[in-house]
């Protein structure tokens, strides 16, 4: 469902979908808040996502976010379309068994720059839900951690760590960044398997504060 939707063809497809499916699918009443020019296209995108068995709630929420922020109609449509593509890519990476919350988290991770291969690897090594590991990955990248470093750290922990452990790991990284550690270093240090990072280059690392 991805490349076919991009470009000028999208508008035509959307218009056809609007005409064809309007009667079949009742408009989500929350979309009444959208501008009249954005509403039918967003509704068509939602319907198409539903037909493709993708979660639709994230699309509705993204449109509502744009409406609340008084974004222009074309920008709302573009944002919903981009998210639909990301959700499709996320499902490609995670497989058809991914839950809607996992797909939403994976779409955010992809948007942050995580490689699809990282998502696939996460699915392979972790039996539990991927929602929190993906959220931590997105959080780390948002904090300035290079994508490769963040992905390596989350992958190293994801096989055995519980969700609470991953949240704790994220807090530890946040704390070290606040302490002045470069984000990449803070991430490597906080991952238990990378404990050596604080010993290597030890002479030049920043001192703990306090000694006069």
């Amino acid at each position: 469902m991805t490349a076919r939707w991009s470009g000028p063809a999208f508008g035509l497809v959307a218009a056809m979908l609007v005409a064809g499916s309007a009667a079949a699918q009742r408009l989500d009443p929350r979309l009444e808040r959208l501008d009249s020019s954005a509403r039918p296209i967003v509704a068509a995108l939602v319907d198409s996502a539903r037909a493709a068995a993708l979660p639709t709630e994230p699309l509705v929420q993204r449109a509502l976010e744009g409406a609340t922020k008084r974004a222009p109609a074309e920008r709302i449509v573009a944002a919903v379309r981009r998210l639909a593509l990301d959700l499709g890519h996320a499902r490609d990476a995670l497989g058809p068994t991914a839950s809607p919350t996992e797909l939403g988290a994976a779409a955010a991770a992809l948007r942050a720059g995580a490689p699809p291969a990282t998502l696939t690897e996460l699915r392979r090594i972790r039996r539990e839900s991927l929602t929190v590991p993906l959220a931590v990955l997105t959080d780390l990248v948002g904090s300035g951690v290079p994508v490769d470093s963040a992905a390596a750290a989350v992958l190293s922990l994801a096989a055995k760590a519980r969700d609470a452990d991953l949240v704790e790991f994220r807090r530890a990284v946040e704390r070290d960044i606040a302490l002045g550690a470069p984000p990449a270093s803070a991430t490597a240090t906080a991952a238990a398997v990378a404990a050596a990072a604080v010993q290597v280059n030890a002479g030049a690392r920043q001192q703990r504060p306090g000694r006069p």
């Binding site: 929602t131 948002g142 002045g180 000694r211």
Partner: protein, 366 residues
Amino acid sequence: MGARAPAAQTTGTIDVGVSSVRYDGFLPSAAASVSPALQWERPAGILTARGTYLRFESGHRSLQALVAGSFLIRPAEHRWRGELGGSLGASRYLDFASFWHATADARLLRLGADRGIWIGGTAGRTSYGRAARPVTGAGIGAWMQRSQVMVGGSATRSFVGDTAYSDVVATAHTRRGSLAIDASLGARFASRGGGRGVFGEASATIAVGERTVLFLAGGRYPTDPVSGSVAGRYVSGGVRLRLARPARLTTRTAMPSASRQGTPADGDPVVGVRLEVLPRPDGLVRLVLYVASMSAAGVELAGDFTDWQPLKLRRSAEGMWETVLAIPSGVHRLNVRIDGGGWIVPAGLTRAADDFGDEVGIMTVP
């Protein structure tokens, strides 16, 4: 995973603190200190520059400066790695006591997943206001991580001119959430002119924001004939401020703002507005927003768990606004606004480009 090497990252900090210190052979004294530091780091190397200005209650001043670097000379995929480092520093107390030192280090490390060992040597020169003296030393060390605690130990033998001494030191480091504790215990022995005895220090740091860490430290440290510091006991407290936020990789090219109308907190939302997300045992989530501006008359929150309908928060105390909601587990997006201003991202959340020319906060509910 791609093979792209992360770019170098640079961070700056400044420590501001007060101390009570008693150097061996001197009377106790209070002191205030300011220590700026700049650190540049790549996966294979690190370079640090830092300075310290110390003012004692007598009015006397001490200045210290240090530039230190260290670089690995074998790639990361090898368990054995070589490391080369160097340190260049100077200090001055009043107008008469001036030190400088220049040393180089070489270490060989064997790195395991949660443990490692190293062996290394040091050579250089140091001076105390007269002819420089040679510095040589050798050491061996090991470390190991167990759960939340990392312990390490080292033994070194050092020669500074006619002075010689041996140190054995054990260290421990642990952290829980925003709190970290470091401790060390050591002994100096087989000493000729370097003092002897037991020494130990402990420090605690707690992060209170994205850029702020409080610290408390104390203990006794030995004389360092290389850098010129005199043995002493101390208690210190203060704050470390991170000077700049690292580049946020999620930020897209700036686009015209869709909602920005300007608020007192606009421009740097990290300052003055902070959100805490507190899951409750009953499954509900308590959202508490701290707003530094006491003049705020109304605070609203909107997110994908409110259908992006602005929700007024209840004022529970001066500068504190909150609500309790049923928020499903997962990743959520939200913004807040003050007195009907623009939608902003409070500190405490990860910021990301929102597709509409502004930013949105990302919140994870376990």
